[in-house]
């Protein structure tokens, strides 16, 4: 399996989209740092006199930083993995690989693990960069963060793209690359919409909306992981927690059971991908 892990990792690095997203990430982080710099300057200059308002605003800014980072990560994951298996099948590359002494299960898991490495590395760098920028500019909502909170949040931040990756590998066995890309984006958007519906339902006390949101989260649980990550990261700041306010109420914070479901969901998708691929004519 190790040769496939290595080739999958190298293949991802060699893709132009990886380089493009790398450049975009640097620009994005620089922009984010500048944005925070100017906000903090306003505070130091006394132009913001309502401290509690500032606290809520500043935590919202860092929340936005993680939100766009999470979207960037989802985008990168989809772009790198939509054709992980299907491209090899469409091009015929797979014939010279699978005809070697390599089991079909090892091929799928090798492809998956190679992408896990690259996506995890990128996720960790992105998360730590956003956190470091926020801490560097003394965003109050993130001051005094404990290592265990950072670690828990980081694990959740990495879990989201890995769950998307499992869905992508599953789709890549069943669909052609383009169809899989469309499928993944559709499922991802379903999750985002479902998350919002659940939040709105919670805010206005409409159980039907909450149920619809939960149902969509079962199909697309990626936004749920993101919300859990944000709730964990901002768990020590009370009312300034962005999980309140625009995102509604305390009850909207996903439970640990939901995280267990996400791990089960990812494992099941991988299992189904392997199962389907074992019987596939190449």
């Amino acid at each position: 399996m190790m040769p496939v892990i290595k080739i999958s990792f190298r293949e991802a690095i060699n893709k132009k989209v990886f380089l493009l997203i790398g450049i975009f990430t640097v620009i994005y982080l620089a922009g984010y740092a500048l944005f925070i710099y100017f906000i903090m300057k306003d505070l130091d200059g006394g132009r913001i006199d309502n401290y509690s308002g500032f606290l809520a605003g500043a935590s919202f800014i860092s929340f936005v930083g993680y939100y766009f980072s999470s979207m960037l990560l989802a985008f990168l994951t989809i772009m790198l993995s939509a054709g992980a298996v299907s491209h090899d099948m469409e091009s015929g590359i797979i014939q010279s690989t699978i005809s070697k002494p390599l089991s079909r299960r090892s091929y799928i898991l090798g492809k998956y693990l190679g992408l896990v490495l690259i996506i995890s590395a990128y996720s960790i760098i992105l998360f730590l960069s956003v956190t470091l920028i926020s801490v560097m500019f003394k965003i109050p909502s993130l001051s005094g963060l404990k290592w265990d909170i950072i670690l828990k949040s980081l694990l959740l931040f990495v879990l989201e793209p890995l769950a998307i990756l499992s869905l992508s590998i599953f789709g890549s066995v069943f669909f052609k690359t383009l169809s899989n890309g469309i499928f993944l984006i559709s499922v991802y958007i379903t999750g985002l919409a479902g998350g919002m519906i659940e939040q709105i339902g919670g805010t206005i006390g409409n159980d039907t909306l909450v149920l619809c949101g939960i149902a969509s989260s079962m199909i697309s649980p990626f936004d749920t992981v993101y919300r859990k990550m944000i709730a964990t990261l901002f768990s020590n700041i009370g009312i300034a927690n962005p999980m309140f306010g625009i995102y509604g109420i305390q009850g909207a914070v996903p439970s640990m059971w939901m995280m267990a479901y996400v791990i089960f969901y990812s494992t099941l998708l991988l299992y189904l991908a392997v199962r389907k691929f074992r019987k596939k004519d190449l």
Binding site: E11, I93, S96, S99, D281
Partner: protein, 299 residues
């Protein structure tokens, strides 16, 4: 036996990939698999390499199920649609394929060098595959198939992208493999080349084997005989037609297709025993191409 298939059948939804294909290929043989486009040749090769799952029937290589990991260790395969990661160099691709075979690192370097020399890609080993011509990629595929020094090799249209010199090199490689006692399964449309190197052949049409056997037997099995003769009445042509099927008559000549040399003796006997005079016999043996066309046209 090196390769044995028993009633191998594959259906793709409603179409037939191959149907009841039973072949036996001995160790050290070069076996030619002939058939028009879409006849089912590649389906059979893919089943033998574990790429396609058969609907029914069985396929074995050295007594073990074809496509199993154990068998794949001793099999080399050049696919018809040879395509590789174009961002790798030729050397890197071979190193990747060698690692899939679990080859030792020291052995691997030596073997890659040796094979790149054999397929005349030494000068391009550090160039990316994306810059290779189709012929160079096919040469690389041949090197990849030979990497583990396999006992059985499957070449699916191995010369489709090669120039005449490349084809001759490929022929030499196959002859050399046979000399080493390797078994070669060859799918090709280049029948003259097959005729030169193959020990046995099978013809597949619409998914089914319609002719198989040793090359000399197959070639001798389609002989057209022209007999200069003189006879009265229609008894002699009638008897020959009854025995051999279609008979063409022209002034003092009978043309008839026979299956083997013994049939010529039988024709002579029919003529002489029935009062005819025999003045001469000319045998026209078919080459593989004529034979192939004749079989497909139902001759």
């Amino acid at each position: 036996m090196a390769i044995v298939t028993n009633k191998l059948t594959k259906y793709y939804n409603t179409s037939v990939g191959c149907n009841d294909v039973s072949i036996e290929i001995g160790r050290g043989e070069i076996f030619g698999f002939l058939g028009p486009n879409g006849a089912g040749k590649s389906t059979v090769v893919k089943i033998l390499n574990g790429l396609v799952i058969p609907t029914s029937g069985s396929a074995e290589i050295f007594g073990m199920p074809a496509g199993s990991l154990e068998v794949k260790k001793s099999v080399g395969y050049l696919p018809e649609n040879f395509k590789y990661y174009d961002w790798l160099t030729g050397k890197q691709l071979l190193a990747f394929h060698a690692s899939l075979h679990g080859m030792d690192k020291h052995l691997l370097k030596k073997r890659i060098k040796q094979l790149l020399k054999l397929v005349k890609l030494e000068a391009f080993e550090e160039k990316k595959i994306g810059t290779y011509s189709k012929g160079m990629q096919q040469r690389l595929g041949i090197a990849s198939a030979l990497l583990p020094d396999p006992d059985v090799l499957f070449f699916d249209e191995p010369t489709s992208a090669l120039d005449p010199i490349g084809r001759k090199d490929m022929r030499d490689i196959m002859v050399d493999l046979k000399r080493q006692g390797k078994t070669v399964f060859l799918n090709s449309h280049l029948l003259s080349e097959m005729e030169m190197v193959c020990d046995s052949v099978a013809v597949i049409h619409k998914g089914s084997i319609i002719k198989k056997g040793k090359m000399p037997d197959i070639l001798n099995s389609f002989i057209t005989v022209e007999i200069r003769t003189e006879f009265t009445g229609d008894k002699i042509p009638h008897l020959i037609k009854e025995r051999f099927g279609e008979v063409k008559l022209s002034k003092g000549k009978i043309r008839v297709k026979v299956d083997c040399d013994d049939d010529i003796n039988d024709i002579a006997r029919i003529i002489i025993n029935n009062g005819g005079k025999l003045y001469g016999i000319i045998c026209e043996k078919m080459n593989l191409e004529d034979l192939f066309i004749s079989i497909l046209e139902g001759g």
